[in-house]
Symmetry: C2
Subunit: 205 residues, 2 copies
């Protein structure tokens, strides 16, 4: 459908929204017309929020998480256990682990996983800086918390080889049956692994 826009400004704004992932031209039009119905302050607040974010956002020099400051709130917090570092793919994973309220150590954000198909090699990721963190000492345990995919496994293996020379405990997050899942619907690889990696029954689930 060759859309005839009544205004070039409208066409430009719709075009910008339609570049976003998962947003087609019809949705983009709906969103832009919604914004157009708001007052000018709201629209400026919307437009400026992403520009300001892009201009002023910092990445923590220690863990590479997104931050308002040179060192992020987690790395700067003396209450956190600096001897444990959890390696994650991106900042959404940091937020996911934080939301569990089960982890009191620090993070290391790789910025992705090794994926030759997408042209992502080890040098595109924050692996060298992870090795450097471990080399400087003070880190007793590195927890690998990457996705359970071929790319995640490859990255886990690569990191484990890079950290082999150092005196650091390397662990990975547990894989098994999701809480609430029924056995008969669990895939056999996960079920098989969960039997091999069974844990002592303590009465706690």
């Amino acid at each position: 459908m060759n859309q005839q826009y009544p205004s070039s400004l409208l066409e430009k704004a719709v075009g910008e929204f339609a570049k976003l992932p998962g947003i087609g031209r019809k949705t983009a039009m709906r969103l832009v017309l919604h914004l157009l119905r708001q007052d000018i302050q709201s629209v400026e607040s919307f437009g400026q929020s992403v520009i300001t974010l892009k201009r002023e956002v910092k990445y923590c020099k220690v863990c590479h998480n997104i931050s308002d400051t040179e060192t992020c709130k987690i790395c700067a917090n003396p209450q956190r256990d600096a001897s444990t570092v959890c390696v994650v793919e991106n900042i959404r994973d940091v937020m996911a682990v934080e939301n569990t309220q089960q982890y009191k150590g620090l993070y290391h954000v790789l910025g992705g996983v090794i994926s030759p198909m997408d042209g992502v090699g080890p040098s595109d990721l924050q692996i060298a800086s992870l090795v450097e963190r471990v080399r400087q000492g003070g880190v007793k345990e590195v927890i690998l918390a990457l996705s359970s995919t071929m790319e995640g496994d490859t990255t886990n293996f690569f990191i484990s080889r890079k950290l082999a020379p150092y005196d650091v405990k390397l662990t990975m997050i547990a894989r098994g049956i999701s809480i609430g899942d029924e056995l008969e619907y669990t895939d056999e690889v996960t079920l098989g692994r969960s039997i091999v990696n069974r844990t002592l029954f303590t009465g706690m689930m």
Copy 2:
């Protein structure tokens, strides 16, 4: 889920996106992180596009369609038939009718339909200016092209009463079986109407 954002700038941008209709916090986060991966020029182009649209957009003084100029491209076009005015709810409907390439007259954008439930009365819509257009003369036919809903029907009826004193032909777009639809799946009201309002068979579909 009480999200802990690692950056207040990120939280602000995600909050702004989450105000958009149909966009939740998770989608907002995905969109903002996507923008953050683009270069600064792209992000400024995105943010400025809506601000510029809101600041500089005009509404045609004749038909109230969105426009870059005082009078919109359609109203200013001497090739269009100024004696026919198609009344629509919003600018998306103008675009929808334009895309059919079946209409060569002008438009009148009401800005909504009468809906007491939503607090929209006749004075909130561009009905007075429609009556004024007709009163000034030159308009021979007004086509009502509103949604086939109770609100649309109410608005049609209200406009028809307002235009009754004037010598103008009042028509409405045909309602019937959609092209490609099968009879057995058509609702009975539409099917009943399409029998009552049957047209002469000319060999053209």
